[in-house]
């Protein structure tokens, strides 16, 4: 964490309210995100308790498992979830534009451009917190190896149609979310804490209600953001229940013990009643549903409020470009599903794992560069670290190369208060109409003035094209890091290339999970 971030946190403590960490929005937000707020049963990995899901903030779909130990009820939940989520994901599959992708010939190793298509837009799912993202991953893992009755007529406990497919998509989205700067699957706390610093620790920032209170305290409630955050975190009613339920997927133990467990017991009793009493059963089920809804709804509203807040920030210039990467990712997985590939393996082989890690590292460097270029506040942290410097041009001396057709190589003197950390001969870059212009560091004078020699983007002639050389008095920001550390961002990731198109070799489909009577999913 940069000292600038620490400073913002200290400021927030004094102000009792969050302070900005960004001046622009660093993540792409689509016009129509799908919000997913899941709850799980304590102690049962992947036994969902309920969820609110949908694209309309005023009309979420409520899904509840009135008895999570019952496999049929869990299947119903997952089938309903698939029915809600898959049409949303599929809605982007057929709106495409022509595009090109580089493919490597598996035999000759030669690279060639191939015409292909790219989906114009992509789905975007927003969950409350990083724990919600992990839950999407877990649900994905639990569903993708299931077999439906259609796929395997002999399967014991066949999964409802489309559930395995939802598992594959959830797995893909969760995997993509590990890519720095990606936006197919986002968490509300992640979004908010990227853009604001609170006066509490990052651990406490995981609590969506508290985080929101720091950033946008409710004027009706009164008190500072800090006070409201404390209330959101701790306040309980006379029954001992949290006033602001946790954002999940874990529930408040007091809620489980005082309300949920008795309601489930009544549901079990009503189901077991002999003679059957459908009215009593459905009343008992409604009671559980209402309880679960009461825990979900505040979080649902909080996620939408978070989106409103982040949306108010103007988008950073590079977010669109990164979203293109997400569109490639989506298109690639669409193709893999269409090509009939088996579900993602349980574990990546060593090569794939290393490649993914490497790609994430490159992507992080690129994200850091882009965010700095898009946002003076992020750039300030790089300047503080000696990785960039800003200042006024105090002198320009025209010089040329010695060749037959001399090219301009002007010397620039930059007066700066920043202390760039040059380590031997170094190149520096500035943004010229969105492209990086390179200069080399010649020397640093005793008074801190940095002397640079401009190297490119000045045209082909002897005289530089107008506007390509900064003038005396100009304010310019130079970076010691490259602006585009890696080639073409519009290319798909190998993992997103279907095997039919030379994607990574598949080791063959994996066995399904054995099903037992006691499985939780």
């Amino acid at each position: 964490m940069s000292l600038l971030t620490t400073l913002a946190r200290l400021e927030a403590v004094r102000a009792g309210r969050a302070r900005p960490l960004a001046t622009v929005r660093h993540r792409h937000l689509t016009d129509r995100p799908l919000v997913f707020v899941p709850l799980t049963t304590a102690g049962e990995a992947g036994a969902p308790l309920g969820a609110l899901v949908g694209t309309d903030r005023d009309a979420p779909r409520l899904l509840v498992v009135p008895q999570p130990r019952d496999r049929d009820l869990r299947w119903t939940f997952l089938a309903d979830l698939a029915e809600e989520v898959l049409p949303y994901i599929d809605a982007y599959a057929d709106h495409v534009e022509p595009a090109e992708r580089t493919e490597t010939d598996p035999v000759t190793g030669k690279k060639a451009k191939v015409a292909t298509e790219l989906c114009l837009d992509a789905p975007q799912i927003v969950v409350p917190s990083p724990a919600g993202i992990e839950y999407v991953r877990l649900l994905g893992r639990s569903m993708r190896f299931r077999r439906t009755a259609e796929e395997d007529p002999d399967a014991p406990y066949p999964a409802p149609a489309r559930v395995p497919l939802l598992g594959r998509w959830f797995t893909h989205l969760a995997e993509r979310s590990r890519m720095p700067g990606s936006a197919l699957l986002l968490s509300a706390t992640g979004l908010l804490s990227r853009h604001w610093a609170t006066g509490q620790s990052s651990l406490e920032d995981q609590h969506l209600g508290a985080l929101l209170a720091w950033i946008a305290p409710d004027p009706k409630t009164g008190g500072t953001g800090a006070e409201q955050a404390l209330r959101a975190e701790l306040a309980r009613d006379a029954q001992g229940l949290l006033l602001v339920p946790p954002a999940g997927p874990a529930t408040d133990p007091a809620f489980d013990n005082k309300l949920l467990a008795p309601a489930m017991a009544r549901f079990d009793a009503a189901r077991a009643a002999d003679p059957a009493d459908p009215a009593a059963r459905s009343a008992a089920e409604d009671a559980v549903r209402a309880l679960v809804a009461s825990q979900l709804r505040p979080t649902w509203d909080a996620v939408w409020r978070s989106l409103d807040l982040v949306r108010e920030l103007p988008p950073g210039a590079h977010t669109e470009q990164r979203w293109t990467g997400d569109r490639w990712s989506y298109t690639g997985h669409r193709d893999r599903v269409r090509a009939g590939e088996p579900p993602q393996p349980r574990r990546d082989d060593a090569v794939t794992a290393a490649r993914k890690l490497g790609r994430r590292e490159t992507e992080q460097v690129r994200l850091d560069a882009q965010e700095a270029l898009d946002d003076p506040l992020v750039m300030a942290a790089r300047r503080f670290a000696g990785e960039a410097f800003a200042g006024e041009i105090t002198e320009v001396v025209m010089e040329w190369t010695d060749s037959k057709r001399p090219s301009p190589r002007p010397l620039l003197a930059v007066a700066t208060e920043d202390g760039p950390q040059f380590d031997g001969p170094a190149k520096v870059y500035r943004s010229l109409d969105g492209r990086a212009q390179t200069a080399e560091h010649v020397r640093t004078e005793e008074d801190g003035t940095v002397v640079l020699r401009l190297l490119d983007k000045m045209g082909r002639g002897r005289e530089p094209e107008p506007g390509t050389v900064p003038e005396k008095g100009d304010q310019v920001c130079w970076t010691l890091f490259e602006h585009e550390p890696r080639s073409g961002p519009r290319l798909p990731e190998p993992e997103d290339t279907p095997w039919t198109h030379g994607g990574p070799p598949a080791a063959g489909p994996e066995a399904t999970d054995p099903v037992t009577d006691e499985d939780m999913l």
Partner: protein, 363 residues
């Protein structure tokens, strides 16, 4: 108030914040911290969901079913390949009166099992470990004695092992807990010929999304070394107590003001990690926040700010410090530079600046 016995979880957490004298004293003296926190007006939000409890108990019962056949098979498979596969499990009776009696009974059973050279399963044995001058009684889920005299600690947890991997944070906590048991077992083993305590514990969890037990060997040498060092370093409770004013008491029937005073008499070292490890965390956090301690923002922040330990001091330094103030501190200078950069960037974006009133300098 009856003292609240220390358990392995508390000990493992104690070792996680060894710098906190307050916790060392309260735990060492067996003070009921949840009750104390409630009496202080800052109750811990702990408490377990009954769903988790039921699940945990039913899974443990399943793992130990059939006289421990499955459990021994797992121990053999993961940690005892060299030995004969266990046929029938030997399950000694460990019942006795009181923790001391049970600990003595366990020690005897361990001696007999080691001498007999057969696979033995000790279900919920009782171990004693002296901590900060007070004995703590610990009850691991199980200890298995191998035919070669090796003792293995078994931890049964209900979080899942999915595709052979579990939540690293949970595995870490289980390993720290197992390390405490290993330390306690080592005291018993030291007095016995041919006994040694394995430095790999067996973690048994549900496999994937099922109720089927799966096991993984967890090397706990590192946790053992760390815990051991930190337990040794813990100030002795008597020494801590001796430093308290006479008549200090933590009984929950005292007034909130009296209790606050009593608690404040012992130094604390609050950090956000306390929230997950200590029942007093909300109280200590309130106090640390009220004092403006920068540690409330995280250990890393505190480290970064060095000698500037309060929010006000750090913000004063950011604003440029006081003329004639203490000689230039590099952290203060860095903060001042950071503040100028931040102000410039906020201004460039047309955002309101942070409050930059000058420091409260003495005039």
């Amino acid at each position: 108030m009856p003292p609240r016995p220390l358990d392995a979880r508390a000990l493992a957490a104690l070792a996680a914040n060894p710098g906190c004298r307050r916790r060392a004293l309260l735990d060492g003296a067996g003070v009921d911290k949840p009750a104390l926190a409630a009496a202080l007006g800052a109750p811990a939000g702990y408490g377990q969901s009954q769903f988790a409890m039921i699940r945990g108990n039913s899974f443990e019962a399943k793992v130990k079913a059939d006289g421990g056949t499955e459990l021994l098979r797992l121990v053999h498979e993961k940690l005892g390949r060299g030995a004969e596969p266990p046929r029938a499990a030997h399950l000694p009776d460990l019942a006795a009166a009181g923790p001391e009696g049970r600990a003595a009974r366990t020690a005897l059973a361990l001696r007999e099992a080691t001498a007999s050279g057969t696979w033995t399963l000790l279900d919920h044995p009782m171990l004693a470990l002296e901590v900060a001058g007070t004995p703590a009684y610990l009850e691991p889920d199980a200890v298995v004695v191998h035919p070669d005299g090796r003792w293995t600690v078994v931890e049964i947890k209900s979080f899942p092992l999915i595709d052979g991997a579990a939540d690293p944070a949970k595995v870490g906590a289980a390993a720290r807990q197992a390390a405490v048991y290993v330390l306690a077992l080592e005291r018993v083993a030291a007095k016995l010929d041919g006994a040694r305590v394995g430095h790999e514990a067996l973690l048994v969890c549900p496999k994937d999304f099922s109720n089927v037990p799966a096991a993984a060997a967890v090397d706990i040498r590192k946790q053992r070394a760390v815990t051991r060092r930190q337990l040794d370093r813990l100030a002795r409770v008597e020494d801590l107590a001796a430093a308290l004013p006479d008549g200090t008491s933590f009984a929950p029937d005292r007034t909130r003001a009296q209790l606050t005073e009593a608690v404040e008499a012992v130094g604390a070292a609050y950090a956000p990690d306390c929230l997950a490890a200590c029942e007093l965390a909300f109280h200590c956090r309130d106090r640390a926040r009220a004092a403006g301690a920068v540690g409330t923002l995280g250990r890393q922040v505190r480290g970064e700010l060095g000698t500037l330990t309060t929010v006000e001091a750090a913000l004063d330094a950011a604003a440029g410090g006081c003329p004639g103030g203490p000689a230039e501190d590099p952290t203060a200078e860095a903060l001042h530079r950071a503040a100028r950069l931040r102000a410039g960037a906020l201004a460039a974006a047309g955002l309101p600046a942070d409050r930059t009133e000058g420091p409260g300098c003495p005039s």
